[in-house]
Structures are given as structure tokens and as C-alpha cells.
């Protein structure tokens, strides 16, 4: 039937990732008329000017949150809406019923697709909600109490087994959720807030101009680049990124960005042939963009990025120098003019190269240079405690310390979910004892990577043979999906492993370990987990 075909076509394009929604149609239909045309076969007009549409008007969400809601309406409630209308609606709702920057503090990792975050929420919310999905998914919404209650009822209809799960069936889950959790959420995450009211009044700064960006991509390393941002329409920009990785490999890309709620930067770029996303937040004064950049098709492969305007040092790489060592140090930032000055006991021998965004110097720490973090200055621009002077690497931490990778591929529809690691070095500090408060953080250090069984069961089941491999860059790739007849009970290529990072420090090798659970696929992948 023709109608069905049309519906399927619309559903297909409607699944576009949010960062791809960067072209606003010139004649965008008015969002409210789209709501009237598309949503009111189920929703109703309330007659209240402050909350004109039932359900819709009593919630605030992130752009991704609105995207999820509208996609669910398409997939499960029969909503038919064009991709253009959907873009318009997400933009309008995220702008007018969004979250203030302060309301996303501490939970942006979910928007940024940051993997391996160990959450800690209030026990009631943790036990009632976070046993199934992230706490951030809750904390990135604002609703009236009635709306939070509607959401509890929604769970009972949408997931009828929710109250029968382990952790739910041993208590009156529905009653607890309705009578205890919903009022608490209405208090903790209220629909009406000063933060949002005030943020709406703030005169948002244009993000036009050239920014100095630094960041990290697993397998490639740290980079610095200049990000040129050009406005094409309200909240719409083209972006170009030009720079280099720490090893000198150039980096180049371009794309588009859209800004929601005056600060939620979502960009889609192609960098050296790879499609990437940026999920950043603009600071209120319009001087900084911070967040995460990751590969579109492999969200694990990404890292923190920061872009700044004005006279700023954004990174010093490497961020450590050993007593008696002579090495190249790269200072990245914006408008880097003037003499380079390093701190006590560390001499700047000569400037190897420089431009406005990066200065490479040959530095030397004396054998008696004081252990501690020193300031780095270029002209009048200063970065406090940006370079750590150390005696020896006393311990190494591997981040993330707890991690999950998921088998995939092997002809199945779900790709492998990798995990990526970095080693952070520490000196022992004044007390000479590693693992104490005065340890000196040296920053990310190069490491050699290996795997070992986490415990005796992993050893016995030979997880190390099946669960996957780690690259020299610290990227773990899990094994193929599916039953493996070679294994006990034909189990999947799952495993319980330790990731070992070994940092070489002169004559010493210092190791750190992280825990890696290689498990099965996630079969449901919402926009916000």
C-alpha cells in the first residue's frame, strides 16, 4: 500500500542522528503549527497559554531527549512527520523547553556518549530507575510532578515486565516509583526553575570566529587545531578544523554545526575522511566550547575537546618533564605572542617553531629542579601548574578504571563496541609515598598495553584467548559475536580481563591496571542510554 511505503520512508530518514540535523530549511514551518497538524490527533490543547499542549508543554529536555520522544512517536504511536518538520520541532522544543547549562552540569557525559562512566545517584533513584537505564537520562529531563507520574505509568504500559525484574519484584516497585520517586524527581528536576528562566533571559553570544581547539582521539593522540566558525543562519554555522596531532600528523576537516538552547553545540564534521560528531557546550560568555568529539560510527573512539577564544593557553604537551631531562614541549592556545617563560629550575633553551596557536620549545629541567607543577607563560598569557617537574614515576593509573566492551560483528547487525585506555602517571610527592594525597599528577603518558585474566575463572576459561585484543594505542577490540563451540557451554567470546598499561621511566617500568568486562551486545540502543 502506498501509504505504508511513505510511512516507512519517513521512519527511515527520521532516524538521523541529531548532529546530522544541521540544515534548517529556508521556509521552516512554524513549529507550533507542526504540533497542531501532527500531534493533536492524540495530544490536546489545554487552553492554558503557559502550557498549551497536553503532555508536551509540561516537560523540558535536551535536543537528544526531544529527538528520542519524537522518534518513539514515529516508531510506536503512528506519528507521520517529515524529516524537515522533525528538525524544526526538535529545534523549537529544545530552544523553548530545554535545559539551562547549569541543569546539565555533571551529567553531560550521556549527551557526549562518554563510555564507562560509573554513576552514583541517590539510593532511591538508583534502585528504582538506574537499575535499567542511566541516571543521567532522568537527570537530563525536567517535568511537573504530574508529568513524572505519567512517566511511571508509561513504564508500566511500555515495559510491562519492569516490576518483575530482579531489584523490582522484591519490593512494591510501582507504588514506590509513583508515590516516592515521582515527587522526589519533581523536586530535584522541576519543570519550573530559576536556572531556566534566567538562562532564557541571557543574551547569547554569537559563536562566530576562530577558536583554538585542543583534544584527544584514541589511536591518534592529542591534537591542537584552529576551528573556524562561520554563521550561515540563526544558530547555524559552517565549521573548518585545521591542525595537527602531537606526532606532527596534520588534521583537517569541515562540516556544519547547529546550536540549541543558546549553548548546546552539535557539529557534524568529516575529518580526514572520517565522520565525527562534536557535542559541546558553549560557556555563557561565549569564550569557550567544551565537550567531546567522537567518530560517528564508533562513538567509543573519541575524547575531550576544548576550544577557546581570546588569549589562552589550552594545553602543554607533554605535561611533564623529569629532573635532568631535555625535551620538546608544545604549548597550544590562541594568540600566543611574546616570550616563553617556564618555572623554577626549568629552562627554555630555544624556540623550535611558533605561530599564534602553537609554540614548540626545547626545555631542560635541572637535576635539582623542585618537584612540583610549574606555570607556563607565553607573553602575558599564563597556564597555571601546566607542567609537572618530577623525580620518578611512582605509580600509573589506567583510565577508565572500570570498563565494558561488547562483542559484535561476525556478520551480525550490531558492531563491536571497543574500549580505549590511557595511562596517567604520578610522582610520589613530598612524602615519597605513592597513593597519597600529595601525589603529583604528571598527565597522560605513553604506555605499552597488554591484557591478563582478571581472576581464576577468567584464567580457567581462557578468556584471554577469545575475548579480544588491545592495540599498541590502547584500544581494545572485542571478539566476534555468537556462540563459540570451542568454549565451555559454547559461550560467547566474553571475558573478564585486566588491561595493563606499562609506562617506561628511565630504568623503571611502572604498571597500572584497569578492569575490563567483555560482554554481549546491547540489543536496544536508544539515543540516550
Amino acid at each position: 500500500m502506498n501509504n505504508n511505503k511513505t510511512t516507512r520512508a519517513l521512519l527511515g530518514t527520521g532516524a538521523l542522528a541529531l548532529a546530522g540535523l544541521v540544515t534548517m530549511p529556508a521556509q521552516a514551518a512554524d513549529a507550533e503549527s507542526i504540533i497542531r497538524d501532527r500531534c493533536l490527533s492524540c495530544h490536546t490543547e489545554t487552553g492554558e497559554s503557559a502550557t498549551p499542549f497536553s503532555r508536551i508543554s509540561e516537560q523540558r529536555k535536551t535536543p537528544e531527549g526531544w529527538m528520542m520522544t519524537i522518534s518513539r512517536m514515529q516508531q510506536q504511536r503512528g506519528l507521520v512527520i517529515s524529516p524537515e518538520e522533525k528538525r524544526t520541532l526538535v529545534k523549537h522544543l529544545a530552544d523553548t523547553q530545554g535545559l539551562a547549562p547549569s541543569e546539565t552540569d555533571g551529567v553531560r557525559y550521556l549527551l557526549e556518549k562518554e563510555p564507562n562512566v560509573v554513576e552514583s545517584f541517590d539510593q532511591l533513584v538508583q534502585e528504582t530507575c538506574v537499575r535499567c537505564h542511566s541516571g543521567a537520562r532522568v537527570a537530563l529531563q525536567r517535568r511537573t510532578e504530574d508529568e513524572w507520574k505519567h512517566l511511571i505509568h508509561f513504564h508500566m504500559g511500555q515495559q510491562p515486565t519492569a516490576e518483575f525484574h530482579a531489584g523490582a519484584r522484591d519490593r512494591a516497585w510501582f507504588d514506590i516509583a509513583l508515590t516516592n520517586v515521582a515527587p522526589k524527581l519533581a523536586k530535584d528536576y522541576p519543570f519550573n526553575s530559576d536556572a531556566w528562566n534566567n538562562w532564557q533571559k541571557v543574551n547569547k553570544k554569537s559563536l562566530n570566529g576562530t577558536w583554538a581547539m585542543t583534544g584527544y582521539m584514541p589511536g591518534k593522540g592529542t591534537f591542537d587545531a584552529s576551528l573556524r566558525v562561520s554563521k550561515t543562519a540563526a544558530d547555524n554555522y559552517t565549521v573548518a578544523l585545521e591542525g595537527q596531532y602531537a606526532d606532527g600528523t596534520p588534521l583537517s576537516g569541515e562540516g556544519r554545526a547547529i546550536v540549541y538552547a543558546g549553548y548546546e553545540w552539535r557539529a557534524s564534521l568529516t575529518i580526514d575522511g572520517v565522520k565525527v560528531r562534536q557535542v559541546l557546550a558553549a560557556s555563557a560568555d561565549g569564550s569557550a566550547l567544551e565537550g567531546r568529539m567522537f567518530e560517528r560510527d564508533d562513538e567509543i573512539i573519541g575524547g575531550s575537546v576544548k576550544a577557546v577564544k581570546g588569549n589562552v593557553i589550552t594545553a602543554v604537551t607533554p605535561s611533564y618533564i623529569k629532573q635532568g631531562e631535555r625535551k620538546l614541549v608544545t604549548i597550544s592556545g590562541n594568540n600566543l605572542k611574546g616570550n616563553v617563560q617556564l618555572g623554577n629550575g626549568v629552562k627554555m633553551l630555544n624556540v623550535v617553531s611558533r605561530n599564534a596557536n602553537r609554540v614548540v620549545v626545547l626545555a631542560e629541567a635541572s637535576k635539582t629542579a623542585k618537584v612540583g607543577a610549574i606555570n607556563v607563560k607565553v607573553g602575558r598569557t599564563s597556564a597555571k601548574t601546566a607542567l609537572a617537574v618530577y623525580d620518578q614515576v611512582a605509580r600509573v593509573e589506567i583510565t577508565p578504571s572500570e570498563s565494558i566492551a561488547r562483542i559484535g560483528g561476525a556478520g551480525g547487525p550490531i558492531p563491536k563496541l571497543k574500549s580505549a585506555y590511557r595511562a596517567v602517571g604520578y610522582a610520589a610527592g613530598a612524602d615519597g609515598k605513592p597513593g597519597t594525597e600529595d601525589d603529583l599528577r604528571l598527565g597522560y603518558m605513553p604506555a605499552a598495553w597488554s591484557l591478563k585474566p582478571f581472576d581464576e575463572i577468567a584464567q580457567h576459561d581462557n578468556d584471554i584467548k577469545y575475548a579480544g585484543t588491545i592495540s599498541r594505542d590502547g584500544v581494545f577490540t572485542p571478539g566476534d559475536a555468537g556462540l563459540n563451540p570451542e568454549r565451555r557451554m559454547s559461550t560467547n567470546n566474553v571475558g573478564n580481563l585486566s588491561v595493563v598499561g606499562t609506562v617506561n621511566d628511565g630504568n623503571n617500568n611502572v604498571q597500572g591496571e584497569a578492569h575490563l568486562l567483555v560482554t554481549v551486545q546491547t540489543f536496544v540502543k536508544p539515543v540516550l542510554q
Binding site: S41, C42, H43, T44, S54, R55, H150, I152, H153, F154, M156, G157, Q158, P160, T161, E163, F164, A166, A168, R169, D170, R171, A172, W173, F174, D175, D455, E456, I457, H460, D461, R488, M489, S490
Partner: protein
């Protein structure tokens, strides 16, 4: 942590378990006289094992030959594959269509004699495995979990026991309904007419008037909270038909030291066992929580002996807590049942094969390959009269 250690021990026990010897010998049920047949199927008390597989098929296995003898197509999409038998062993009531509809099959010819579509109008009704047939076969019971789907929101309604007349044929409607607790999974019909409601606590309801009484408080038990953790009582499958009983397993922790001090605690399986004829109730926590099981079944020759399956097949004395025997399994099996003679165990669910074992040694003696995965389906014993 003690719990982790226990799981480790359990896992290692499985890992080093003896390899399986397939003898191919069957454990035929001895029948004194030549049985009558119905539509070519041995009757007169002959036993069959029933289960449901994806995409949605009811299978009937003869316990004498351990061969699949009949497969019936079940209407609707799979889910959950629950089965309740009529007392004469002839009608299998099968839960289908994502836990919503029930179809009653004559297992001798696959004819559909009865059906219920529980959802109606804008109300979505799911039964989470809870289905039973009265001892006289005249009534079918389900626990319904209704949610009203309003145009722009859901409204959770009160769960209820729904009573159907089994001779109402196709598109039967409830003849009575009574409010019940939330979170009920496993139900059973006693000979006195009451229906056992297995949820957080074990209650019985009179399906004539809805009057409810407590059989055994579990979640709301009256034990010192500094000594005992209230149980997590849960079971997907209603078993025990081979000996006429209902068992609700549960997990609890006994604090022998300070509450939370796991080094001094006992992690225990408990169960409530109800004799469906007499209503006698037994409740005990002795078996150490070293094995995951979804259900226990009782040895017909020794009520103190129970069997459980998941990643291992295990045999326990529930009075002493002794683990009598453990058998490694080829994969995970959610479900277990046994023939009335007490000699043969059938281990199914999850995947597409029923593993057949001797009950004395737990040795694997056969395997019945089905056409699809059983997933959460029941594995029920039918005694065709």
C-alpha cells in the same frame, strides 16, 4: 565478597564437571496394562512432555520414546509459551501473543477448543506467566495486569484474577474478576478450589468470591531485619504436577554477625511447598545459594530430594542442605520437569533441545531436538487419561 566467591566455586564445579556419556538408553514408563488410545495417542495415564518454541509452536513429546510426536501451530507472536494442563491431560492452555492471549489445544489432534484475547478496547492486558486450571477442569485462571492506553498517556490499572469457563469455547470472556496484589507470576489451583497467588507473598484466593488469605508471608515476613533479608521470591514456571504440589523458591540472607557482614552470613535458597490436595505448607531455608535455579522439582520417591537446573543440573536434600550431585550442562537451561516414576529428568527452556537425564546419577541419557528456541516457555507434564 562471599557471594562472588560462591559464584566462583559454582562456576569451577561446572568447569571441571565430568564429561557427558550418551548411552542412548531410554527410561520407558512401565504400564501394567495396554493403554487406551485417543486419536492414536496412548492414553490411560500415559505421560507426555509439552513445551512451546519459537516462532510459536506447541510440541508434544512421548516420555516412553522421548520422541517428538506432534507439533501444533500457536496463533499470534511468541510469548511467553506458558502452558497449563487440563486435569485429564488432554487440553493444553498456551499463553501467546506477548503474554496476552490463551489458546486451549486438544493435544491429540491440535484442535483449538478454547481461546481468550485478554486485551480489549484501549486496555492492554498482560499475564506474566500466571495461568492455572481448576482441579475439576471447569475454570481457567489468569492474573491480569491491565494498563489503559489513553490517547496521550498510560494509566496503570489494578491487577485482577480473571476466571474463565473452559467450556466457553473461542473468544471466551472472564466470568468473574477479583482484585489481587501486583507482581504475581506463578499460580496454581488447589483441590479445595482456592487459587494460589505466587508473588512477593504467597496468598490463596477463593475464585468464587475473591476472598484472600495469606498462605506464607515472604516479602512481608515477620523476621528480625537484623537477622534475615526479606526474600526475593520469583519463579517463571508453574511446576509440580508430577507430584501434585506447588513450589515457590526464594533467595534470602541470614546475618549471623552484624547485618551486612557477608563474611559471617549464609546465602540461602528457601522454598514454600504446598500440597495441592491437602493444602499442607512447608517452608524451609537450607540449601546454600551456590547454584542458580529458576525452579525446584521434587523427587516423587523422596520429598526431601529436589532437583534444579540452570547452568548445572543439581540434586539437593532440602532438609539437610546437602548437595547430593551436580552435573555440568551443555548450555543454560531455564526449565526442568520429570516423569511421575521419578526416574527421568527433562531439562529444557532457553535453547532448542530438551536434555534428558537419569535422576539417580544425573547422567545425560538423551536429547530431544526441537524446531526452535524455547526461550521462557514452560515444560509441562501431561498425563493423558
Amino acid at each position: 565478597m562471599k557471594l562472588t566467591k560462591m559464584f566462583k566455586q559454582a562456576a569451577i564445579v561446572t568447569a571441571i564437571g565430568a564429561s557427558v556419556l550418551l548411552t542412548g538408553c531410554n527410561n520407558a514408563n512401565t504400564v501394567a496394562e495396554a493403554p487406551a488410545t485417543i486419536n492414536g495417542m496412548k492414553a490411560g495415564g500415559h505421560e507426555y512432555i509439552l513445551t512451546v518454541t519459537r516462532p510459536n509452536e506447541l510440541h508434544i513429546v512421548d516420555t516412553e520414546t522421548n520422541k517428538l510426536i506432534r507439533t501444533c501451530d500457536v496463533p499470534g507472536v511468541f510469548g511467553n509459551g506458558g502452558i497449563a494442563m487440563s486435569p485429564d491431560g488432554r487440553i493444553a492452555y498456551v499463553m501467546t501473543n506477548k503474554w496476552e492471549d490463551v489458546y486451549g489445544f486438544d493435544i491429540t489432534n491440535c484442535d483449538i477448543k478454547f481461546s481468550v484475547k485478554q486485551s480489549y478496547d484501549n486496555v492492554q492486558v498482560k499475564s506474566i506467566t500466571s495461568m492455572a486450571v481448576s482441579a475439576d477442569g471447569k475454570e481457567l485462571y489468569t492474573v491480569q495486569n491491565p494498563v489503559r492506553k489513553l490517547p496521550d498517556r498510560f494509566e496503570t490499572m489494578e491487577p485482577r484474577l480473571a476466571v474463565f469457563n473452559t467450556n466457553d469455547g473461542l473468544n471466551a470472556k472472564p466470568v468473574r474478576t477479583f482484585p489481587v496484589d501486583r507482581r504475581i507470576t506463578k499460580i496454581g489451583a488447589m483441590h479445595n478450589g482456592e487459587v494460589i497467588l505466587g508473588g512477593g507473598d504467597l496468598k490463596a484466593i477463593d475464585p468464587q468470591n475473591g476472598k484472600t488469605r495469606m498462605i506464607k508471608a515472604l516479602q512481608n515476613w515477620d523476621r528480625a531485619p537484623d537477622k534475615w533479608v526479606p526474600p526475593d521470591a520469583f519463579a517463571m514456571h508453574s511446576l509440580g504436577e508430577h507430584v501434585g504440589e506447588f513450589i515457590m523458591p526464594y533467595f534470602t540472607i541470614r546475618w549471623n554477625g552484624a547485618p551486612g557482614d557477608e563474611s559471617k552470613a549464609d546465602f540461602l535458597w528457601g522454598h514454600v511447598r504446598i500440597d495441592m490436595k491437602t493444602g499442607e505448607v512447608e517452608s524451609i531455608e537450607k540449601v546454600p545459594f551456590e547454584f542458580i535455579v529458576f525452579n525446584w522439582i521434587t523427587d516423587p520417591h523422596d520429598k526431601d530430594v529436589m532437583y534444579g537446573s540452570f547452568n548445572q543440573l543439581s540434586k539437593h536434600n532440602v532438609k539437610t542442605g546437602e548437595t547430593i550431585n551436580v552435573q555440568a550442562m551443555d548450555h543454560t537451561y531455564y526449565n526442568i520437569n520429570m516423569a511421575n516414576d521419578g526416574k527421568t529428568l527433562y531439562i529444557g527452556g532457553t535453547s532448542s533441545d530438551i536434555s534428558v537425564h537419569r535422576s539417580d546419577t544425573l547422567e545425560k541419557i538423551g536429547s530431544i531436538q526441537l524446531t526452535g528456541d524455547m526461550s521462557t516457555s514452560d515444560l509441562r507434564l501431561a498425563r493423558l487419561k
